[in-house]
């Protein structure tokens, strides 16, 4: 997700359990959470935030199929039409010998395809600098962020105080 020129108000939590409780409270009060940040995947956070299941694996399946077909049909064409060679007395179209390469190509296409897709969707890539909310979010802190223009500042401050946020900051991204 890319955020640009937004005033973000966020609270830092020291513990994932505090974070989960705070998210529940925010949901109960119908507060519009912009995003939640954590250094590692927190169990039970996805359903709370009602995040949709990622469709990346469907793309991965398609890339894998393309890879498998590319290798298999490619070898079929090469060894039966383009440049037939007899290896060890085997027929030209030797399916068992094609399987390992088909498998490897499938893995290669699926993995590279998924990385490229993921980077594209996330707006990542070489030379891209993404603004960070707080450096400690990659270490030991958890944050709930609100878009300051969508929520009442007083509500948010009292929400953070109530749910035990260790720190409340504002930042323009």
């Amino acid at each position: 997700m890319t955020i640009r020129d937004k005033k973000v108000i966020y609270g830092l939590y020291n513990d994932e359990q505090d974070l989960l409780k705070a998210v529940k409270v925010a949901k109960g009060a119908h507060m519009d959470i912009l995003d939640v940040f954590s250094p590692f995947p927190v169990h039970g956070l996805d359903p709370l935030l009602e995040l949709e299941e990622s469709r990346l694996h469907i793309a991965g399946f398609i890339y894998g199929m393309i890879g498998a077909l590319t290798a298999f049909l490619g070898m079929t064409w090469i060894f039966t039409k383009d440049w037939p060679i007899i290896f060890g007395g085997k027929p030209y179209w030797s399916v068992p010998a094609f399987i390992p390469i088909t498998f490897e190509t499938m893995v290669l296409f699926a993995s590279i395809g998924m990385v490229v897709t993921f980077y594209t969707v996330c707006g990542l890539g070489p030379g891209v600098t993404n603004p960070t909310l707080d450096d400690r979010l990659t270490d030991d802190k958890f944050a709930i962020a609100f878009d300051a223009s969508h929520v009442d500042a007083g509500d948010v401050e009292s929400f953070f105080a109530k749910t035990g946020a260790a720190e409340v900051n504002t930042k323009i991204l």
Partner: protein
């Protein structure tokens, strides 16, 4: 409900299944096409090896989990303990087969034919390992050790559930026993499978065979675990076993189906590529004369579970994972059918064809003979399905009986809390 009580209707059903199995087993003695009653003996061997292996792998996997400090399985570990206690019944039948082999009551194994040992160079060369003494007494030793460990781990688990305390002394003891079992199980299971199954094709060998058949046992064990758990949950037991545990078992089913395929293919491709006569004989025979079994094996045990279980939700839903478990359990029974039946039939034809014993050079006639459809060998007949149902009923009866003899959840296991809160 922490105490399983076996309902009378279940008892009746399982006993009818066993009766059916016994009837089919007796029938297979009389309807067999050959004078050696090969159909009867192979049915007995096939089902015994399959279910004893499931029992062994359950014990092996308990030991793996204990050694690896795993906690997710603790809620339903009594199911695997119950599986492992079926072992003794399988061993009794294997000892009967071993004694039958020792006294020459059956001709399952080509290497046990005295004339072949004299004239057949390959069999003669292997006779130090493949002989009736090693088969019976070596097997007896391995089975005794396995059963000792099964009993010991079960009794430690029961004692812990009864009067375990914060010192976790029972668990520490169980860790030592589990760690001791793993290396022994690794080597002895290879010995057992070479003797019981691989030597049916006495001229052939494969260094991957033990892994390949072990993976087959493992997948079958996971299938049965899923089916037993889904059944028990439908009856209101194991409320704390959730989609999370089923999901993990589903992942094991998915992953080990692929592992099985990997081993199957590695074994096949190396032999296919090298094209050495004494190695290709196994696959040539099966591809030419048992094509439905051979290719069906791959469809049912790889293509089907691979594409169905690939998605996240099909591993979690009891319906979909239950259907896959049922079909793949049958699939691996089919896999063992393909390992055992063609070799035994070939041996029978060879021994009959030359009046008990001749050199390997005359084997061509026997191969041609096997190309005809032989009921109960080329495809599993109704009798084979009946025997399978009989053995399955006996296995499940022992499992439910053992489950009923102890609380379903071990309340004092140190990993219980982890298992209850398991989340994937």
């Amino acid at each position: 409900m922490n105490q399983y009580i076996m309902p009378g209707s279940q008892r009746t059903l399982l006993f009818s299944g066993m009766a059916l199995g016994l009837l089919c087993l007796v029938l297979s003695w009389f309807v067999g096409a050959d004078e050696f009653h090969t159909r009867f003996w192979t049915n007995l061997l096939h089902n015994t090896v399959f279910f004893t292996g499931i029992s062994f792998i359950a014990l092996f996997f308990i030991c793996v989990c204990i050694t690896a400090w795993a906690g997710w399985y603790t809620l339903f570990k009594r199911v695997w303990e119950a599986f492992s206690l079926f072992m003794i019944f399988g061993f009794i039948i294997m000892i009967i087969i071993g004694i039958g082999n020792y006294l020459g009551y059956h001709h399952l194994y080509h290497w046990n034919d005295p004339a072949s040992i004299e004239t057949d160079k390959i069999i003669n060369h292997k006779s130090g390992f493949l002989n009736k003494g090693v088969y019976l007494f070596g097997g007896l030793f391995v089975m005794a050790v396995w059963y000792l460990f099964a009993r010991k781990l079960r009794s430690l688990s029961l004692a812990e559930g009864r009067d375990g305390d914060a010192s976790f002394s029972y668990h520490h003891t169980a860790r030592v026993w589990a760690a001791a079992f793993l290396p022994f199980a690794g080597f002895s299971s290879a010995f057992i499978i070479w003797q019981w199954v691989m030597s049916l094709d006495a001229h052939w060998y494969s260094t991957m065979f033990a892994w390949y058949s072990g993976a087959s046992w493992f997948v079958s064990m996971i299938c049965l675990t899923l089916l037993v758990l889904i059944y028990l949950k439908s009856k209101g037991y194991y409320e704390q076993v959730t989609g999370e545990h089923i999901h993990d078992l589903g992942k094991f089913l998915f992953a080990f189906s692929i592992f099985w395929t990997y081993l199957w293919f590695s074994q096949f491709m190396l032999i296919w590529y090298a094209n050495i006569g004494e190695e290709t004989v196994y696959f040539r025979h099966r591809m030419d004369n048992y094509p439905v079994l051979f290719y069906g094996n791959l469809l049912i045990n790889f293509v089907f579970p691979f594409f169905v279980l690939m998605r996240n939700d099909t591993k979690r839903k009891f319906g979909s994972v239950g259907i896959v478990a049922t079909i793949v359990l049958f699939g691996h029974w089919w896999d063992y059918f393909l390992m055992i039946k063609p070799g035994a039939l070939h041996t029978a034809h060879e021994l009959m064809g030359a009046g008990h014993g001749h050199g390997h050079d005359d084997a061509h006639g026997a191969v041609e003979h096997a190309a005809h459809f032989v009921s109960g060998f080329t495809l599993p007949g109704l009798i084979e399905i009946g025997v399978f149902i009989g053995f399955l009923s006996a296995f499940l009866y022992v499992v439910y009986n053992r489950l009923a003899s102890a609380p379903l959840v071990s309340e004092r296991d140190p990993y219980l809390a982890e298992s209850i809160h398991h989340h994937v």
